[in-house]
């Protein structure tokens, strides 16, 4: 028509290439859409069953996304799209490849039927996902991975033990839950050691230490891992912290209870299970109702009185850092422990040294102290594992707890706490 110097046919080849390219990518898209992982798995099962002559079972293998929708739990579990034989309804055979084996018939399965609980409520993982990496929660942005043997062994646990976390998200109000041995052990420790004297828990307990109600939701990025041995996980941080609070958190006021590995792991599991997950009432076992064993510390922690000599000042530092003032006042009456005003006049250095080294051993030998400790809810002062230098300093400090000094103190002191570097008068 018009232009001879401009060849309009030169768009022909690019157009052809672009057409073919777009056709190819659309085909790739279609291929990807119609060959999902779950379809492959169902086909494998179907041919496996057919190969063994189980034609009815092969015909029963569904084709399509399978799911259990749990609106009450805000969950959708699509695990059975691949694990099609999860409930044994297709084939009860036990020698199937692992993916297709039915869920073992464990004692608690009767109380936790699939239609009510689904899979991820107990096992973890991402119920929404339909590919293996996503469904098993191994991708970076999923907080609740499938609880596997490998994951558990990283913290020296078995898979069943790790799964106790999941049991206790629902069973947290139980005294004991059959099958959760570690969690049961941890609950016993929480009672025996009177953790709620200092820690808040579900609206009860003390204000002297952190509230533990949702301790399982702690952001691990906010924790200091610099002195923690082993994997950088919240679970391991808790284990190490229970074994040696001061090593993980220097100057922590939490007593070192000399817990063994099992006890520390049990408590760590318990902490991780205390998550902000809400279950409808019909899911939650009846709550236990028990009065608290001791009066919790619901007040401000009193400031330790000032010291006059350098050694006593060191003692004051220990007194403050080990949290002695959480339980003891100097003048003003008893708290969790007795008032320490004039304590050095009542007891000599040797007695105080023995006591600070191991309070429980002293109580065990002294009938009078055993009677007296009833006044304090049978709590025996936790062993703070002080070394000789700290004990010497502490005693020097306590010698200043004369009746005259005690007037300077109070729980409602308006002045800020004097720091070791600026001795107050």
């Amino acid at each position: 028509m018009s232009s001879s110097r401009f060849s309009w046919n030169r768009d022909f080849w690019p157009l052809l290439v672009a057409s073919i390219a777009s056709f190819v990518v659309v085909m790739v898209v279609a291929y990807r859409e119609y060959t999902p992982e779950w379809r492959h798995h169902t086909q494998v099962l179907r041919s496996y069953l057919t190969g063994r002559g189980a034609y009815d079972a092969a015909a029963a293998v569904p084709d399509g996304v399978q799911q259990i929708w749990l609106p009450k739990l805000d969950r959708v579990d699509r695990c059975m799209s691949c694990h099609v034989n999860y409930d044994g309804s297709i084939s009860p055979l036990a020698d199937l490849p692992p993916l297709y084996r039915p869920h073992p018939d464990l004692p608690y399965m009767a109380k936790h039927p699939f239609p009510t609980f689904g899979c991820t409520a107990c096992h973890g993982g991402q119920g929404y996902a339909l590919d293996e990496a996503g469904a098993h929660g191994l991708e970076e942005h999923w907080d609740d991975p499938l609880l596997t043997t490998k994951l558990a062994s990283g913290s020296g646990l078995t898979r069943a033990q790790l799964m106790e976390i999941k049991c206790n998200t629902c069973h947290r109000a139980d005294d004991r839950t059959a099958g959760t041995d570690l969690i049961n052990m941890a609950k016993e420790i929480v009672d025996k050691k009177h953790c709620t004297s200092c820690h808040g828990l579900q609206g009860r307990g003390g204000l002297a230490a952190s509230d533990l109600t949702y301790d399982g939701d702690l952001n691990p990025e906010l924790l200091d891992f610099s002195t923690v041995e082993g994997p950088r996980t919240l679970l391991n941080w808790q284990v190490q912290h229970f074994k040696s609070p001061q090593q993980v958190t220097p100057h922590s006021g939490m007593p070192n209870y000399k817990l063994n590995d099992d006890q520390a792991r049990a408590l760590a599991l318990l902490m991780l299970s205390w998550q902000r997950i809400s279950f409808p009432p019909e899911y939650v076992p009846a709550a236990r109702q028990r009065p608290p064993a001791v009066l919790p510390v619901v007040r401000e922690v009193p400031y330790p009185p000032a010291a006059s000599s350098p050694l006593a000042e060191q003692g004051r530092y220990v007194f403050s850092n080990r949290g002695c003032n959480t339980c003891h006042r100097v003048g003003g009456g008893k708290l969790i422990g007795p008032d320490l005003a004039g304590v050095a006049q009542r007891r000599n250095d040797r007695w105080l040294t023995t006591w600070l080294k191991d309070p429980a051993a002293v109580v065990a030998k002294d009938a009078e102290l055993q009677v007296w400790s009833r006044e304090f809810g049978d709590i025996i002062m936790p062993n703070q594992n002080l070394d000789d230098k700290e004990i010497e300093a502490l005693i020097a400090y306590m010698k200043e707890f004369a009746s005259g000094v005690s007037e300077l103190l109070g729980t409602a002191s308006p002045t800020p706490p004097p720091t070791p570097s600026s001795p107050a008068s």
């Binding site: 028509m1 018009s2 232009s3 401009f6 309009w8 768009d11 690019p14 157009l15 672009a18 057409s19 390219a21 777009s22 990518v25 659309v26 790739v28 898209v29 990807r32 859409e33 996304v65 805000d74 959708v76 699509r78 929404y128 996902a129 339909l130 996503g134 942005h141 999923w142 907080d143 991975p145 609880l147 994951l151 913290s155 790790l162 952001n219 691990p220 990025e221 924790l223 891992f225 950088r232 996980t233 919240l234 679970l235 941080w237 991780l272």
Partner: protein, 434 residues
């Protein structure tokens, strides 16, 4: 029989055949689907190297965004309780949902890039001079609308990425003098990101901003014709713009609101393309558009196949991801904010005002005002990097380069606690729960 079949075929396919080029032009102008480009186009407009077809690419990306966006709207629920889970469903169980979402995300990123590059092209070729300055302003507004469209879409998945990117973005907005906190309040629908923010962003994203973009885009295109087509055709048009040619136009003339004799598109423009020169838009321009569309479509799909749209953990106001980054096209601002934030002992001087408000504000004002201060000769219009425009093109090059470098630093080199890491340097492993 054969003649009968032929007639039947012609009747089914062609109701009418033009008798002259003029009649053919009128037919195109009167066709709703074809009238948005001129009946005939100058040959220079087809150049790949002049325009790089960036405007067309942006328009096709916008088309892809509208189509995928409408489909996504059938499945997405703008509620803080359900948004994240509806995205999970779109990704995993909605038929081709993964493709819709990935393609929407990629097209959005590419559109921001294409619109920005389009602006650079227009500047470097001086195509904003004289009568085209109005369209330059419209273009700047379109760039802002594009950025805001992308930014509002960023929040909708309601995951950590969305939540904290928008936190960073709206905190920068807060640094604006006088109106800052009011602006943030209006954006968020309160003092913190929540349900009211989500609904606001949703309505802006699916109704207000696309409507604005469509209207502005239509005007932008119309304005291109009114201003005499693409700047590259100016020299050719000047040759043929003789009174005799203008007189030959006659017939229909157009303005925005109808036929306006004397002030028509044709008379203002350098002149219509006379018989014998230029080429018909249909099929030549249509064929070219088809090619560009197929290329854009293929690229978005290939990218969607290679890399999916990210979805992080559900939004959590108490848990800041480390590092928390703004969308990439705002990263140069975040980087500026970080660089200009000074810590003197315990006293922190926030860089939000300098990096977040002053620098982009000054750049924006400069962009708006520049056509009215530019004194470079008009004959340079329509050419890449002419000697006479060395200085201003150089300055823009430097600014664009700085932005690019800052974006790359923010994207590739900022690790936890906003520390600098080389791209090949591993970040410290962040602790996990289990």
């Amino acid at each position: 029989m054969r003649a009968k079949l032929n007639r039947l075929w012609r009747r089914a396919t062609w109701s009418w055949s033009p008798a002259s080029e003029r009649e053919a032009s009128t037919a195109i102008v009167e066709n709703l689907w074809l009238h948005w480009f001129p009946a005939k186009v100058a040959e220079e407009s087809f150049s790949w190297s002049y325009s790089l077809w960036l405007g067309t690419i942006s328009a096709f990306l916008f088309l892809i965004l509208i189509v995928t966006g409408i489909l996504l709207m059938f499945f997405y629920v703008p509620s803080t309780q359900l948004a994240y889970w509806s995205i999970k469903d779109i990704h995993y169980v909605v038929g081709f949902g993964w493709l819709l979402r990935n393609q929407h995300r990629w097209a959005a990123h590419l559109m921001v890039l294409a619109v920005f590059l389009h602006m650079l092209r227009v500047f470097f070729t001086g195509a904003y001079r004289a009568q085209r300055s109005t369209n330059w302003l419209v273009g700047i507004v379109l760039l802002l609308v594009t950025l805001f469209l992308s930014f509002t879409g960023y929040l909708l998945p309601w995951d950590q990425l969305a939540f904290w990117a928008v936190t960073v973005g709206t905190n920068i907005a807060k640094e604006a003098p006088v109106v800052g906190s009011a602006l943030q309040f209006v954006l968020l629908g309160g003092t913190e990101i929540g349900q009211s923010t989500l609904v606001r962003f949703y309505v802006l994203h699916v109704v207000v901003l696309p409507a604005a973009a469509l209207v502005l885009f239509a005007y932008h295109m119309w304005r291109v014709r009114r201003d005499g087509g693409m700047a590259v055709t100016d020299p050719a048009a000047a040759v043929v713009a003789t009174p005799q040619d203008a007189a030959s136009v006659g017939g229909k003339t157009y303005s925005l609101f109808g036929v306006t004799p004397g002030t028509s598109l044709e008379t203002r423009a350098a002149g219509p393309i006379p018989d014998g020169t230029g080429v018909f838009s249909a099929p030549h321009m249509l064929r070219r558009l088809m090619l560009v569309f197929l290329a854009v479509f293929t690229v978005t799909i290939v990218l969607s196949l290679i890399s999916g749209a990210p979805l992080e953990e559900p939004a959590n106001a108490t848990l800041t991801p480390n590092p928390a980054k703004a969308p990439w096209y705002f990263l140069w601002l975040q980087e500026l904010v970080a660089i200009t934030t000074l810590r003197l002992g315990g006293f922190t001087l926030s860089g939000g005002l300098i990096g977040g408000i002053l620098v982009p504000g000054v750049l924006l004002m400069a962009g708006v005002l520049w056509p009215f201060f530019d004194r470079s000769p008009l004959h340079t219009v329509g050419r890449w990097f002419p000697r006479e425009r060395r200085l201003q093109n150089g300055v823009l090059c430097v600014i664009a380069l700085i932005m690019l470098v800052l974006v790359l630093i923010g994207m590739l080199m900022r690790g936890p606690y906003w520390q600098l890491y080389w791209p090949w340097q591993a970040w410290p492993e962040m602790p996990r729960r289990l």
